[in-house]
């Protein structure tokens, strides 16, 4: 299973709509970095509105992909984290520190714009 990555001008947009298994998550990590490289993208929004569970493994993959993208020079914003997911992550003691987040896709794009202009 592959998660589609859409290009919008200098940005890449991803809406995760599947129940993430480990392989899909790792494949996505690789696909996203390749796409950033290929398109020379400045920013990425990963929308998690449809994701109803993030366990420690998926959290690590997401945190890593943000750092890896930063290394390549692209900013990543995570959007749409559901209340249950936020509560569960904090219960588990997983802090996605230094990961920019926004309520939804629109605010995520605004945030990217601000960060890139700053």
């Amino acid at each position: 299973m592959r998660i589609p990555i859409l290009k919008l001008k200098r940005y890449l947009l991803i809406s995760v709509q599947v129940d993430l298994d480990d392989q899909t998550a790792l494949q996505f990590q690789e696909d996203l970095l390749n796409k950033i490289h290929q398109e020379g993208s400045a920013g990425v929004v990963i929308d998690l509105t449809s994701v109803d569970m993030i366990d420690s493994f998926i959290a690590k993959v997401l945190g890593d992909v943000v750092e890896m993208s930063n290394l390549m020079g692209a900013k990543v914003v995570l959007t749409g984290i559901q209340p249950g997911v936020a509560i569960t992550l904090i219960d588990m003691g997983i802090m996605l520190e230094e990961v920019p987040t926004a309520l939804d896709l629109e605010q995520g794009l605004d945030k990217l714009q601000q960060e890139l202009e700053a």
Binding site: D21, M53, M92, G93
Partner: protein
């Protein structure tokens, strides 16, 4: 009450099947959204541990009843069992940040915090059985 399901875990797909079964049962028992997320996440961590450390095992999910002051409470019980190498030091695995797999080390202590009751039974060289319960509020 006899709602019970067993999910074999011997591949990454087993992890996904176990958490889907858990979500369905949690919904059926009347757990709210946030607790459904807690239960599903706990199952995912336990199933991943089986796959990572024991290669195969099973997750048993069951709707249960318990006594409480003034009546009966309902809950969901998760039993994760394997015949893997066992856990050498339970104290260490229950520490936040302890990992032997390069993960976040949030797994077992995380599960304990997500659920209401938590118990590990492990014998080195024979296997591990973890039982954990979430009560319906």
């Amino acid at each position: 009450m006899s709602v019970q399901s067993n999910v074999e875990v011997h591949s990454e797909w087993g992890i996904v099947s176990a958490r889907q079964a858990g979500r369905n049962l949690a919904k059926e028992l009347g757990f709210a959204g946030v607790d459904q997320a807690r239960i599903t996440t706990a199952i995912s961590e336990l199933a991943r541990n089986i796959y990572l450390y024991a290669e195969k095992g099973e997750i048993v999910l069951e709707g249960i009843e318990g006594k409480e002051a003034g009546g009966v409470k309902r809950g969901l019980k998760i039993v994760a069992k394997d015949q893997g190498p066992g856990i050498k030091s339970i104290r260490e695995v229950m520490e936040d940040g302890y990992t032997t797999s390069g993960g976040l080390g949030a797994g077992l202590p995380g599960v304990k915090r997500l659920m209401d009751e938590f118990d590990i039974d492990s014998i080195t060289g024979e296997g591990t059985e973890i039982t954990t319960i979430k009560w319906l509020r």
